[in-house]
């Protein structure tokens, strides 16, 4: 019973709500089916299939809250999970930040589920592996990759009359190709809601080409360079920055968006005016659910517009404290890009470094959002509009706030990890040391 229809989910949830003796009850029901295959050394290493459905019930008496979970749905099990959540609530200390469940809400429609993805078979997964392994073998390269797919639903209902339902599917693919002489490495990442948009052969060839192009890299001095970040390289820093746009941390004085003397930086221009970042759960290329875990509607929301911080996310509790409307965090990130292809960005570059991806990104200073990490799987020197040769990987120390002020040019967007991100040319990106890693 992994993927329930809206009506089936509603029926179970109505029964759960009817069993409540608490001041309020809220129930989340979700299920998914999926599988994965992992390969390395040009052979399949592990594979698995999974299916799971679960029901989470939260009951509250005043500000005393209890949560219980179950994955059986007969009447006795439903009674058990409701009464357990009530017992736990009675045992709990008061949570001063608890917010009553929301009343009925209106949600947008978003097509985030595709049967094509639900129907992925073990044979399909094995074929994907073969589409990486076979061309790799032919080029004296070794492939290691991972494909994971999942299709499922989530639904929620509470005793205040709220009901929400969504179906979602996803397929995520990554492959690393390493030349057998150990001097070159390439990588690619693809993710879609609809597996019919995924071309394993095309993706594998991107990684394979980078593996051979990056062989025998030259060492060049670390320092400040103009870089072209592919979307997979830009996403890590952007995601970390958007994830830090929490109003409470800023208001408490412990965020890059805290204002000297108190308050936050909403309304201030912090970035180059071409920087616009928003979220939109109904976007055709990166669709997601249109509600979050506590039932708040998700809509198109501007986070940074023309370089100005437009919004920060407010939990329901913090919004109440501050007397503002709550604003849930984003379910995706969309950064407005330009028209140029990656090749065109390279052509317009006198001297620079092309970066495939950044890896092992960690916060160094939360005050300035300084991060460190390394380039990986394809780093190239550009001169006079052409890729001249592969270079050794660098460690960087950079803040996305500084990076988005040093913007030279934006390229076309590409989907990466459920987000839409352009490739971007950045001046004065700070590389602080060299790495021998391939």
């Amino acid at each position: 019973m992994a993927i329930l229809s809206k009506e089936e989910a509603k029926q179970i949830l109505e029964k759960v709500i009817s069993l409540s003796k608490a001041d309020a009850i809220e129930a989340n029901l979700s299920g998914n089916t999926g599988g994965n295959i992992r390969y390395a050394r040009n052979t399949v290493s592990t594979a698995g299939a999974e299916s799971n459905t679960s029901l989470v019930v939260q009951s509250n008496f005043g500000k005393k809250v209890g949560t219980a979970t179950i994955n059986e749905f007969d009447e006795d099990s439903l009674k058990k999970v409701v009464s357990r959540s009530e017992e736990l609530a009675k045992l709990s200390p008061e949570n001063p930040e608890f917010m009553e469940p929301l009343g009925p809400q209106t949600y947008l429609e978003s097509k985030s589920f595709y049967e094509s993805t639900e129907n992925i078979s073990p044979e399909y997964r094995a074929e994907v592996a073969a589409k990486s392994i076979n061309p790799a073998k032919a080029k004296d390269v070794t492939a290691a990759g991972f494909l994971q797919d999942s299709a499922g639903f989530s639904a929620m209902m509470n005793s205040k009359g709220l009901f929400a339902y969504n179906k979602n599917s996803n397929v995520d693919f990554t492959v690393t190709m390493r030349s057998n002489d150990g001097t070159g490495s390439g990588w690619v990442s693809r993710d879609f809601n609809d597996v019919d948009r995924f071309d394993a052969e095309e993706a594998s060839m991107v990684a394979l080409k980078k593996a051979t192009m990056s062989q025998n890299p030259k060492a060049i001095e670390p320092g400040k360079y103009t870089v072209i970040l592919e979307p997979a390289a830009a996403i890590g820093l952007l995601q970390n920055m958007i994830g830090s746009m929490n109003a409470r941390s800023a208001d408490e004085g412990r965020s890059f968006l805290s204002k000297k003397g108190g308050g936050n930086k909403v309304g201030e221009k912090l970035f180059d005016e071409r920087v616009t970042i928003y979220s939109d759960p109904t976007h055709e290329l990166v669709p997601s659910a249109t509600w979050n875990g506590d039932g708040q509607p998700l809509k198109k929301t501007m986070w940074v517009e023309n370089g100005v911080v437009k919004n920060m996310f407010y939990s329901r509790y913090w919004a109440q404290e501050k007397g503002v409307e709550p604003l849930p965090g984003p379910s995706n990130g969309i950064m407005v890009g330009g028209d140029k292809s990656l090749d065109e960005l390279i052509k317009s570059t006198d001297k620079g470094i092309l970066v495939t991806r950044l890896w092992y990104i960690r916060t160094v200073d939360p005050q300035t959002l300084l991060y460190t990490g390394l380039t990986r799987d394809g780093t190239f020197y550009i001169e006079n509009g052409e890729i001249k040769y592969p270079v050794k990987n660098f460690r960087f120390n950079e803040s996305p706030v500084i990076m988005l002020n040093n913007l030279e040019e934006l390229g076309k967007q590409q989907r990466i990890n459920g987000n839409l991100v352009p490739s971007m040319k950045i001046r004065d990106f700070t590389f602080t040391s060299l790495s021998d890693a391939v």
Partner: protein, 547 residues
């Protein structure tokens, strides 16, 4: 850990601080359930036999069965409030088989004979399906048949038996000490883990284990509203393979740092550390920024543990060396040819790095690993030279050995077990030498305590580490706190710059509950012991920026 199983703590209303990325997984349960035992050993054995027989009947040449009950408790507070108390349980079985020379794995949370037999058949079917693409048939190193045996973490006080109210009181009294001493905020958490695991295999072992771990940790933050600056200091506790006795302070387990504040060995003083943490966070607001350059680093064990983890633990995992992790965590610079040469100088001659799954109070301490191999201790680096890796039953033949090292682990009943890092520790120096002695002959240096920012490349050459607190050393004396420190080095260069190691009296454990590896990603708990150690001439950068 499976993505579907966890809730990020930030979703529970925590501030977006360092602790927000800690995952919670399992079903919510009443804490009284922690003390119930669902099955006795005889019932577990009957289920195991059903699984192994079904697997053999379906065509498996080898099978193992794991029944797991994983209990967690999280007590989450900030300032004067309890934010959440979460109790979780996860229960089910996993069956791993070899058929046609290929691994297969399947799991279920329906723990009965019928479902177990079906799961065994599924595991065999997956193995057979994948064997079409298998070019490297599995070879298992021999293992002893242990019969029916058991092991339990030698705890004095089961933390799950301590009333939640007592835990809340302790955390809130630490919070109030921090707030009285200059903190603006404190997020303070206590995590408890109990893994009840039963393992059986067609090799004839039936192993019942009861494993306990505990981790108290906080982040205290001080703010200067005039400058808009904020500074945080993390707890100097370590996650331990212990019971609640870790939370009872003992003077004999306190070590005075060269900078004058207390550090902790096998007993922790949460209230004292919160107080010191608040004072230090406040001091950092006005501390000077470091001048970049070469410094002699004096690294305290609660800091050095993470450096050992990243620069020794990971590169010496044999599956990484062989390329099985190439698409995720990466490979390793410590290739087989370097090991075979017999003279690869990983570190200076005083560097001895040992792997040990039997070390008392450590997170990796168990009787048997998750494929029924008795645990042990072995050298990875001896007198500075690379001598061995970490390997399990299906790998040791590659390094010409015929005995698994006993470091196979799965983070749940529904995860397949694979090679995981054992405790990896730096052996203490042989001469009598304290941390204060070490500072005395440093002309220009930095003393670093506690964990901070960490990042290392995918072959484990180039790394950068921060810390929790930094003190500048000038002409043999601690000058005072300093900010914006990160050191960058290369693994081999760094370990060869190791010039002095304090003796065993200074030795203590660092640990992590959340070492990640594999696809789908799994977590693992691991400790790293060391004494305060000095590394000469390490490159230090200044991390201050203006935005």
């Amino acid at each position: 850990m499976k993505r579907r199983d966890f809730i990020q703590m930030s979703g529970l209303g925590l501030g977006a601080m360092a602790l927000s990325s800690i995952p919670i997984f399992g079903k919510s349960v009443d804490p009284s359930r922690f003390l119930e035992s669902p099955l006795d050993v005889a019932a577990k054995k009957a289920l195991a036999d059903a699984a192994l027989n079904a697997a053999k009947k379906a065509g498996a040449s080898y099978a193992d069965f794991r029944l797991g009950r994983y209990l967690n408790q999280y007590v989450i507070t900030r300032e004067d409030k309890v934010q959440n108390i979460v109790n979780t349980e996860s229960y089910g079985i996993g069956i791993r088989v070899i058929a046609n020379g290929t691994w297969g794995f399947a799991s279920t949370n329906e723990v009965n004979q019928d479902s177990i037999a079906k799961t065994a058949q599924k595991a065999v079917a997956i193995a057979k399906a994948n064997s079409r693409f298998q070019t490297e048939p599995v070879e298992l190193a021999p293992v002893e048949s242990y019969g029916e045996v058991s092991w339990k973490t030698p705890i004095e006080k089961n933390a799950f038996e301590v009333p939640v109210a007592d835990k809340v009181d302790l955390l809130l009294s630490a919070n109030s000490k921090a707030m009285e001493n200059g903190a603006n905020y404190i997020n303070n958490l206590l995590f408890l883990v109990n893994e009840q695991k039963y393992f059986a295999s067609t090799e004839g072992s039936y192993i019942d284990q009861d494993i306990h771990r505990i981790w108290p940790t906080f982040t205290v933050t001080a703010i200067d509203p005039k400058t808009g600056k904020f500074k945080s200091r993390n707890a100097l506790s370590a996650p331990m393979g212990m019971g609640y006795e870790y939370m009872t302070p003992k003077d004999s387990e306190k070590i005075v740092s060269p900078a004058g504040f207390n550090l902790y060995r096998n007993n922790y003083d949460l209230v004292e550390d919160a107080l010191i943490g608040a004072e230090q966070a406040k001091q950092m607001l006005s501390a000077p920024s470091i001048m970049p350059g070469k410094y002699d680093l004096v690294l305290e064990p609660n800091h050095l543990g993470l450096t050992i983890h990243e620069s020794v633990g990971h590169p010496l995992e044999l599956d990484r060396v062989l390329g099985y992790e190439a698409n995720y965590a990466g490979t390793s610079f410590a290739t087989l040819d370097k090991w075979k040469s017999g003279d690869f100088k990983y570190g200076s001659p005083i560097v001895n790095l040992v792997a040990d799954k039997t070390q008392p109070n450590s997170l990796g301490n168990v009787g048997w690993d998750d494929e029924g191999v008795k645990t042990k201790k072995w050298h990875l680096v001896k007198d500075g030279v690379l001598v061995n890796y970490q390997a399990i039953r299906d790998q040791v033949d590659i390094i010409d050995q015929n005995e698994s090292h006993g470091c196979c682990y799965a983070d749940s009943w529904n995860s397949v077990q694979f090679q995981r890092m054992p405790n990896v520790s730096l052996e203490p120096g042989k001469d009598k030498y304290s941390a204060s002695d070490m500072v005395k002959d440093v002309e220009k240096g930095i003393y670093i305590a506690g964990r901070g920012s960490y990042s290392i490349d995918q072959q484990r050459y180039n790394f950068q580490f921060g810390g929790t607190t930094f003190f500048e050393i000038e002409n043999g004396e601690i000058k005072g706190p300093v900010n914006d420190v990160a050191y960058q080095s290369n693994t081999q260069e760094f370990w060869n710059s190791c010039v002095k190691i304090c003796d065993k009296d200074d030795y203590r454990l660092f640990g992590s509950f959340f070492d990640g590896k594999g696809q789908p990603s799994q977590i693992s708990s691991v400790s790293h012991g060391s004494s305060t150690t000095r590394f000469n001439g390490v490159n230090v950068i200044n991390t201050e920026r203006k935005i």
